[in-house]
């Protein structure tokens, strides 16, 4: 009960908002078209938030995640557009697309490797490393594109971001696959357990014989992989790649992660919470948009919601504490 309460509250908020929006504009919100477009929009930010969550559970933060996505998307796009001309058809196109996907993934993994190396093996604090790599990856993206957009992809590539399986948009399927994967990795494997342990107490984790360096390295590689997936969906959906695609996702993804109940100091965080939080943000954004609320008031509402939900959480946990054993205030610490 205690463990699921945060996530349950979120779920109630999600359902409540969903009903509210449906009541506010039933003819628009509850249409197949709107549900489909919400399902198409959510995955980019959702995937980045999943990657960010894993990092935050270890007590770190990845400020470079959006530019990892931008850089890897650009490299993939360069492979795709340089290899594609009018004559290329059939299996050659499929082969080219696979090459581009691999290029995107490998670039992202290199970015993640640089972060992981500096954080776990050199021992620099995550915020400092990713502050530097954020600027570096942005610089490389600008240098590669000269600020312009890379376009000219085969039509088949658009299927990833804009296609449907039956009536379900492909992006949401990708998101579900990776959400489940993250869930299994975090909550069912040894690596996952050590991620949580490291977030709670890195020293104890180290002394319990776990190779913490490897654990942390894998965390940043995993975050980079999520960024690559988001990049693939973005380049496909927008049929191009550019340095500032998704640049507004950085703080948004942190907001989703903490809204989802993850402890910013590390040690706690559930995939379900992050997924529901991403859903809340999406429903709120699309719903308010459909009603026609001023965009700035949408931002205000998001801020109010963020504080209100956490206020509710802390209120409830305090009441529980009041009934149970008094707990010493926990030191809020981030791994250095």
């Amino acid at each position: 009960m205690l463990k699921t309460s945060k996530e349950m509250i979120l779920l109630y908020v999600f359902v409540g908002l969903f009903l509210l929006m449906s009541a506010a504009s039933p003819s628009k919100f509850l249409t197949l078209g709107n549900l489909q477009s919400m399902a198409t929009q959510l995955p980019e930010l959702g995937l980045i938030a999943l990657g960010m969550m894993v990092v935050i559970i270890t007590g770190g933060i990845d400020l470079s995640i959006t530019f990892t996505a931008a850089l890897s998307g650009i490299v993939g796009a360069l492979v795709l557009s340089s290899g594609y001309s009018a004559g290329v058809e059939g299996t050659a196109v499929i082969f080219l697309i696979i090459k581009a996907l691999l290029a995107t993934l490998i670039t992202a993994l290199i970015c993640g490797f640089v972060n992981g190396l500096l954080i776990s093996y050199v021992g620099v604090s995550p915020i400092l490393v990713t502050l530097g790599t954020m600027t570096l990856f942005e610089g490389m993206s600008v240098w590669l594109t000269k600020g312009g957009a890379i376009s000219g992809f085969p039509g088949q590539y658009q299927w990833i971001g804009n296609g449907y399986l039956g009536f379900i948009p492909v992006p949401i399927l990708i998101f579900i696959v990776f959400a489940v994967l993250t869930l299994i990795l975090l909550e069912r494997t040894a690596w996952g357990r050590s991620v949580y342990m490291f977030g709670c107490n890195p020293v104890a984790t180290f002394f319990s014989g776990i190779n913490t360096k490897k654990v942390v390295m894998l965390v940043y590689l995993y975050a980079a992989m999520m960024a690559a997936m988001a990049a693939i969906i973005m380049t496909s959906r927008y049929n191009s790649a550019k340095v500032d695609y998704g640049s507004s996702y950085l703080l948004q993804s942190v907001a989703i992660v903490v809204l989802g109940g993850t402890d910013i100091a590390g040690g706690y965080g559930k995939v379900v919470g992050t997924v529901v939080a991403a859903g809340i943000v999406q429903v709120l954004s699309s719903g308010l948009n459909l009603i026609g609320i001023n965009r700035f008031m949408v931002d205000v509402t998001m801020g109010v919601l963020l504080i209100a939900v956490l206020l509710l959480n802390s209120f409830i946990s305090k009441r529980k504490q009041g009934k149970g054993v008094k707990k010493e205030p926990k030191k809020i610490g981030i791994a250095v």
Binding site: T40, G147, Y238, G246, S285, L290, G292, M297
Partner: protein
């Protein structure tokens, strides 16, 4: 504990107040919309036209909003002027998707990135929505109408002509400060200008690549100071994007170099007035954004009524427009130059 409860209550109260404000507004708004829909269905022709800027909350797009809204009143159409709060193409795509579901007759968009919007604009077109670009061109193959404030080539060349005029010589060193390296329309003007300068003013020397300023006056000011010091022979600065020439002019003014370094660029008259008057900003050039908003809505209304724009057509409150040979690219007209002598006549 009591304090906490009191605090919680007061915060909740505030939140509910805020939420109350929000929902009140939305209620009246949606009621209005419903009302409008009803009148639309009874009086048949009340079109719903979306005009989407690159972002909301900057002076340039506020001015065009006023123009678009005024056209809506004059012509009896409903104008929904909405856009993202950050110049991010991803946000624009999401909003357009939501708007398609809202059921509108036309969408006019100023793309943050043309290529990114192609798929979603195709989707809108498939739903029978009239797709238009304004301010910055989108993918030509998907739009039904393309409203340009200006001929990009002409504008780029015009800025370089102004620079040479202000410096009084075409053999000098100059630098460019731009809003952002990835802003498509700014890059277009700069590229046309550079190409033109290569043949027309071969002795003009660009000291370094365009310098980005994050669309912020303070950054443009800082960069201009550094440029002046790093390149002591600098005679001119071109500022592209509205805060850039102002920041550059401020640097020139503070260093007392009004007579030595000329600043020209794209600027709004109200914000550049001070610097135009003290001579640190030689000339700012721009179209009237309100007219652009007005023209966009007016032409969309015509298209929805089945009328195509024609070359030389006189649009009320805007003037004569040019239509290019493809029949869908419309150009509003030449830019207006703001100098210390005429800047007081404008208010935007």
């Amino acid at each position: 504990m009591k304090k906490i409860i009191a605090l919680l209550l007061s915060v909740l109260f505030m939140v509910s107040l805020l939420a109350g404000c929000g929902s009140d507004k939305s209620n009246t708004q949606s009621q209005q919309q419903q009302g409008q829909q009803q009148t639309a269905s009874t009086k048949d022709n009340k079109y719903k036209i979306v005009v989407m800027p690159k972002l909301v909350g900057i002076p340039y797009f506020n001015a065009s909003e006023q123009g678009a809204k005024k056209a809506g009143q004059d012509l009896g159409v409903e104008v929904i002027y909405t856009g993202p709060t950050k110049a991010d193409a991803a946000e624009q795509v999401k909003m357009i998707e939501d708007l398609i579901n809202q059921g509108v007759d036309a969408i006019a968009v100023a793309p943050n990135d043309p290529a990114a919007l192609t798929p979603v604009l195709k989707k809108a077109k498939d739903k029978g929505i009239l797709v238009v670009d304004w301010d910055t061109p989108a993918d030509k193959s998907v739009v039904d109408l393309s409203v340009h404030q200006i001929d990009d080539k002409q504008y780029g060349e015009h800025i370089w002509d102004l620079l040479v005029q202000s410096m009084g010589t075409d053999s000098a060193e100059y630098a460019i400060i731009t809003g952002g390296l990835s802003a498509a329309n700014l890059n277009t003007w700069i590229n046309y200008g550079l190409e033109y300068a290569k043949s027309k003013y071969p002795n003009l020397k660009l000291v370094t690549d365009k310098i980005p300023s994050d669309e912020k006056q303070q950054v443009a000011y800082q960069k201009a100071l550094e440029l002046i010091k790093a390149y002591p022979n600098l005679k001119g600065i071109i500022g592209i994007s509205t805060p850039a020439p102002i920041g550059a002019a401020q640097a020139v003014q503070e260093k007392g170099l009004q007579d030595k370094v000329s600043v020209v660029g794209t600027g709004l008259p109200n914000d550049s007035k001070t610097y135009l008057k003290d001579g640190s900003l030689d000339v700012a050039t721009l179209w009237e954004p309100a007219k652009l908003g007005y023209l966009t809505v007016a032409l969309i209304k015509d298209m929805l009524d089945g009328k195509k724009p024609t070359d030389g057509q006189e649009v009320p409150n805007v003037g004569k427009i040019q239509v290019q040979s493809d029949g869908k690219t419309v150009i509003m007209g030449p830019p207006t130059d703001f100098t210390k002598d005429n800047v007081d006549q404008f208010n935007f």
